[in-house]
């Protein structure tokens, strides 16, 4: 409604509208393995309150979550588990790598620790720090929201690639090779 009472329209692209919805209702999956997990809990609790950004409902089942926060050291023995949990999440899904350990192995430059979770799963946002402060995590979250709005995240790249393929052959099931051939880097 405009000021004089006549009806007006607000036009937007459907994609933008969907992205707007997605970015304000992130459902985090807390993959907290060590000290960074404690700081993630602080971020989720009332002092810093991640709920203000729509990331309120923390789900401990990957099937009900769409943003994975990897907080802490991921051992080599943990790597298959992380990959499995990631694959169980429904598309579109986002990954935040929180802390030095998850992003690069951190101080644990040894045989038993993976040197960054991006060797196992695709990551959208890295939050540096040991541990990152809650403000840092919130900054990462807001950056992720910006990326979702612009359609820059890896999940959305995958989605666009699939759409592009299905445009030309709507009844064909797409494979990873098709995505690559369509010119998008799936990982």
């Amino acid at each position: 409604m405009s000021k004089d009472g006549s009806a007006v329209f607000f036009t937007t692209k459907l994609d933008d509208f969907v992205s707007y919805g997605r970015k304000n209702s992130l459902w985090p999956y807390p993959f907290g393995t060590s000290c960074c997990g404690i700081e993630m809990m602080a971020t989720l609790c009332s002092d810093y309150d991640m709920a203000r950004f729509g990331a309120e409902a923390v789900r401990f089942s990957p099937k009900q979550a769409d943003m994975m926060i990897v907080a802490g050291i991921v051992n080599t023995k943990m790597a298959p588990i992380l990959r499995t949990v990631y694959e169980q999440m429904a598309e579109p899904k986002w990954v935040m790598s929180m802390g030095a350990c998850a992003s690069s192995g951190g101080i644990f430059n040894v045989y038993s620790v993976t040197q960054g979770i991006d060797t196992i799963i695709p990551v959208d946002v890295y939050v540096p720090g040991c541990p990152p402060s809650p403000e840092g995590v919130l900054h990462g979250l807001m950056r992720l929201q910006d990326m979702i709005q612009k359609g820059e995240t890896r999940a959305q790249h995958r989605e666009q690639a699939l759409k592009r393929i299905n445009l030309f052959s709507p009844f064909k099931t797409s494979t990873a090779d098709d995505i690559k051939n369509a010119g998008y880097n799936a990982e």
């Binding site: 023995k77 790597a79 990959r83 040894v110 038993s112 993976t114 196992i120």
Partner: protein, 192 residues
């Protein structure tokens, strides 16, 4: 550190309390297991907190059994079982740390083992030796004969090499992102 200097630590307290008992115990062991005990390292003579008995690996279980249940010994608690890589021949030392709850005293038994040799399992005496022995196998590649379940416990089943050996690369990364293939036989057998 000069071996002959007295050890200026709290360890002395243990020695004051249990020194005499340890001496009689070791004398008894020496008469009972002649030849099986290669060497004894005693506090105040060697920088150690408790006596270290080096036992031949063939008779280590007999000695441990005696330490565990013979009257006057009663080291009934296997506090730890681990190993060290000495980079000499014989290469490894398997270490048994025992604790007596009755006397509140500790004792340490070691056995030397070369690469590729087997040590008899201590699970016949302590069920608690099961996982430490698997850990020693995982980290050092020492196998225990008679162990019910000699396989890796900490590292991935597909891991190549044994990471705590001195010749293993510090940054010998191996990455296995995919879940290991299932093992139906593990569902049938109990872990013991």
């Amino acid at each position: 550190m000069d071996i002959n200097t007295p050890v200026p630590t709290i360890y002395g307290k243990d020695f004051e309390k249990h020194g005499e008992m340890w001496k009689t115990q070791i004398a008894e062991l020496r008469t009972k297991f002649q030849g099986a005990i290669e060497e004894v390292r005693f506090p105040r003579e060697y920088p150690t907190d408790v006596p270290i008995l080096y036992v031949k690996k063939e008779s280590v279980i007999a000695v441990l059994d005696h330490l565990r249940s013979a009257p006057g010994f009663e080291y009934g608690f296997l506090a730890d079982l681990t190993a060290t890589d000495e980079e000499i021949d014989p290469r490894f030392e398997v270490v048994y740390n025992l604790l007596s709850h009755g006397n509140m005293a500790r004792i340490r038994v070691k056995t030397r083992v070369s690469e590729g040799q087997e040590v008899p399992t201590a699970t016949t005496l302590w069920m608690a030796a099961n996982w430490p022995e698997r850990e020693v196998y995982d980290m050092f590649g020492i196998t225990f004969s008679g162990h019910p379940h000699m396989r890796r416990i900490l590292m991935d089943d597909r891991w190549v090499g044994h990471p705590l050996r001195k010749d293993y690369a510090l940054r010998g990364y191996q990455l296995f992102p995919d879940t290991p293939p299932p093992k139906p036989e593990l569902l049938e057998k109990s872990d013991r």
